[in-house]
Amino acid sequence: MLKEIERLILENGPRWEIPFSPPRTLYFTKTGGSKGDPAAQPVVFLLFDQNSATPRWVVKVSRNRATIPILTKEYENLLYFYHRFPSSFRSTLPKPLLSREDPGRFLFVESGLRGKRISPLVQPDGDRAYRRAVGKMFEDVLAWLGQFQKETYKGAVEVTEAWIEEEVKGTIEQYRIRYSVDISEEDFLNDHLERWKEWKKTAIPITGQHGDFRTENIFADGHAVSICDWSLSQKKGRPFDDLFCFLSSLSVGAEEGNPIDSFENLYFEENWFRQQAREIVARFFFRWELSPRLFSQLYPLFLIKQSIREAGGDSLHAVGDSVWRERLLFFIRNRSRFMEV
């Protein structure tokens, strides 16, 4: 496959870059998604040439028939978003260059992104300079998210009885089917459903959604932020989910990777980053002319949705893991301490 990719690049390079400087040699890195279940993921090749510090091209290849729809959808969405954005914003996502469908296989080529993956680590005891640096980085990321959502805004949907029935009750029902729910969970779910009635007539915005807006997929080159992996993106979705996904992907004071500790530090413990997160969320809701109090309704709904997201179909990434349910259960047990915005 290496030779085939090399040929593909050399044949099509002059169409993608003018003037095209052909690579003297291509150096490959093959990655296979998550280490836990690589067999369920498409294969990604990062292509370096002799001069580049970051991949010049990225080639994604289906592993088997099951991964073809994922890649096809990713390529389609990438094309959609790329061409929808103004030219100044296009450089923040990979440029879709070419797709090829052979019997039993699909591959596409996109341009590589500049920069370094942002660190998910946040130290709650960091000094002032550290806080400023982290704050600035988050500002950049959220500015990107704001711009992305502005460009893909599709209107709003009002919270009605029917909306609650479909979006909240339906989700809760699925959750009940999937997990055996104990009394405290049941009480919480009923209470949560009931509280949505307060929010009737609220306009929930509909925008494009990246769907996997984790620190792993965010690259920063100075202040320039760019986003990779559009495999879970959607043309229409709730803007909050990307923000919640981003916040959940941070390791707040939990370097060894205990996501529940991080979750606790972020939303339940008093520290400077919690203050910062509170401000971020408040500003985010104000931008959409919504009360920040809605966060306490939307966030648990997000957790429930993530918990029932099955490992299959469009959710082959780590989003369907059991950590989401653990977070939800932690939230239910400790909701009196949960961050208020």
Partner: protein
Amino acid sequence: MTYGALRKLAARQVRRYSGLVCPQCFHPLLEESNFFCKECRTKWKAIDGIPCFATGDDDRGEISEKEMAQMNALARKVGWRTALKERVAKTNPTLYEQINDEASADFRFLLPLLPHSKVLDIGGGLRTTAFDLQPHCGSITLVAFFKEQAKFIEIRREQERLTNMEVVIADRLPLPFAPETFDVIIVNGSLEWMGQIDRGQKPQALYGQFLKQLHQLLKPGGAIYIGTENRFGIRRILNEGVHRQSRYGGSSPSSFPWVMALFRRFSFKRSDRLSQGGYRKLLEESGFVESQFFMPIPGYHRPVELISLDHPTPLQFYFNQRSSTSARFGKLKENLALWGTSLGVISFLSPHFSMIAWKKKNHA
């Protein structure tokens, strides 16, 4: 048609694929003559229908031949999957995971596999590699070194009704195939055992003979894939995850790994693994025109990530993207890794290598 008849038909169809030759005189063998060489008059036996060219009676597989025989008997009754679960899952969970791990064949994405490609997998053992490769190529021939292991593979092949696979029991040297038979040859995790086949010879000389033989078996433009350990691999130096049964590897007392590592480092005659430069040189000497080296992560048994070692950039990028520690010691380690990458130290200490080498194309 009965199941038995279908099995026989499938077995007969399989025989079409590889050009079997007598490993003594390299005269073509015909199945009709029951693997009898008309040239040198040697009669090669078939064990349960599997051609056997192995001269020794080796018993150094992952599972002993006795246990394998018991597992095979069970596999015939209850199916290979259940037998494997019953016999291996509890006693050797790591091996069980490896056997069932689809990611073990992930190197296939580097290879020029086409629907008509003929592939030779040497010493894949019980692992599922060949079974995962077979849907992506025309036919695959598995060389097993151990008889009961070969029987198990054959049972699995029959039960999965795969007609584009065949199993041959043979030694590494010489292999019973005609020149220019295969498009791709895979030697994943069996090269480092070469030193065992003839203790009278230096392992490097045996490697050379083996690779020259593989070069002959490849069609022009074909590729060989090798997954093996690095002589200077960091894990080897620290005496971690080294094959205990190999000729020299892992034989050191664990309390003196550094001493033994240094000893191995400087005793060129005794090493049964090579460095990146050593393998590259050997491949060149064996006639391969181009070779590409990768660091398989977590290892060649499971090459989920394969990072080019031919230039420092891919490895630097890899470490750059991974760095996510705030601890001082962690940062120091990361910086050392990045610094070591640009100096080529990390690539030098790569625990394992995955390499692809190409045979020159014929130009009309």
